[in-house]
Point group: C2
Chain length 122, copies 2
Amino acid sequence: MSVINIAQKFAQFHDHWSPKVIAELNGQAVKVAEVAGEFVWHDHTDEDELFLVFQGTLYIDFKDRTTVKLQPGEFYIVPRGVLHRPRTETGQEVHLLLLEPIATKHTGEVAHALTVSRYDRL
Amino acid sequence: MSVINIAQKFAQFHDHWSPKVIAELNGQAVKVAEVAGEFVWHDHTDEDELFLVFQGTLYIDFKDRTTVKLQPGEFYIVPRGVLHRPRTETGQEVHLLLLEPIATKHTGEVAHALTVSRYDRL
């Protein structure tokens, strides 16, 4: 593999809620995503999911706990089985890095207009 | 768990070559380390290892390929079984984030003065 510059990866795409795989290790995928607005409520039965913010402010809502607010340089791990909904402030774009098992679907088992069936690689 | 601010983690310690576990997910550990000078040559038989730089310039030497140079915002994955030696320029400190399986020992199977037997948690 080669050195991966994260900012350069964010510069290569601009579609929202469509994570791109930039690396894999130990069965995990490193993905980058640009998001704006509200995503769909979902969970991942067997997979913990790490959200690390590079630009903007990301909110993660939960059904049973306080909303998490993430600024650049901050991350949060949503445990497996926990319903969550990522979102941004209205009109704001957020750049984030995701870490999760390669097999993870971004909307969990929820079929939604935002669901993508495969992840592009950058 | 709570929100993790990576810069705040780096501010909490200053010993070199002694990774601190700041989170775990899917059998992987997220660690932060402050390093300066040369580490020991080693490999990890079954574990890929991700190095993401937050401050300074990290070099990773290999026996059989060109040295990798990492600046802040860049990462590299050392594949399992590949001998490598992280190092910095003389007198320079580097802050980096590591991602690898929880069981990984930082010097692989090499017993060295720098080897730590357990990783502190922050």
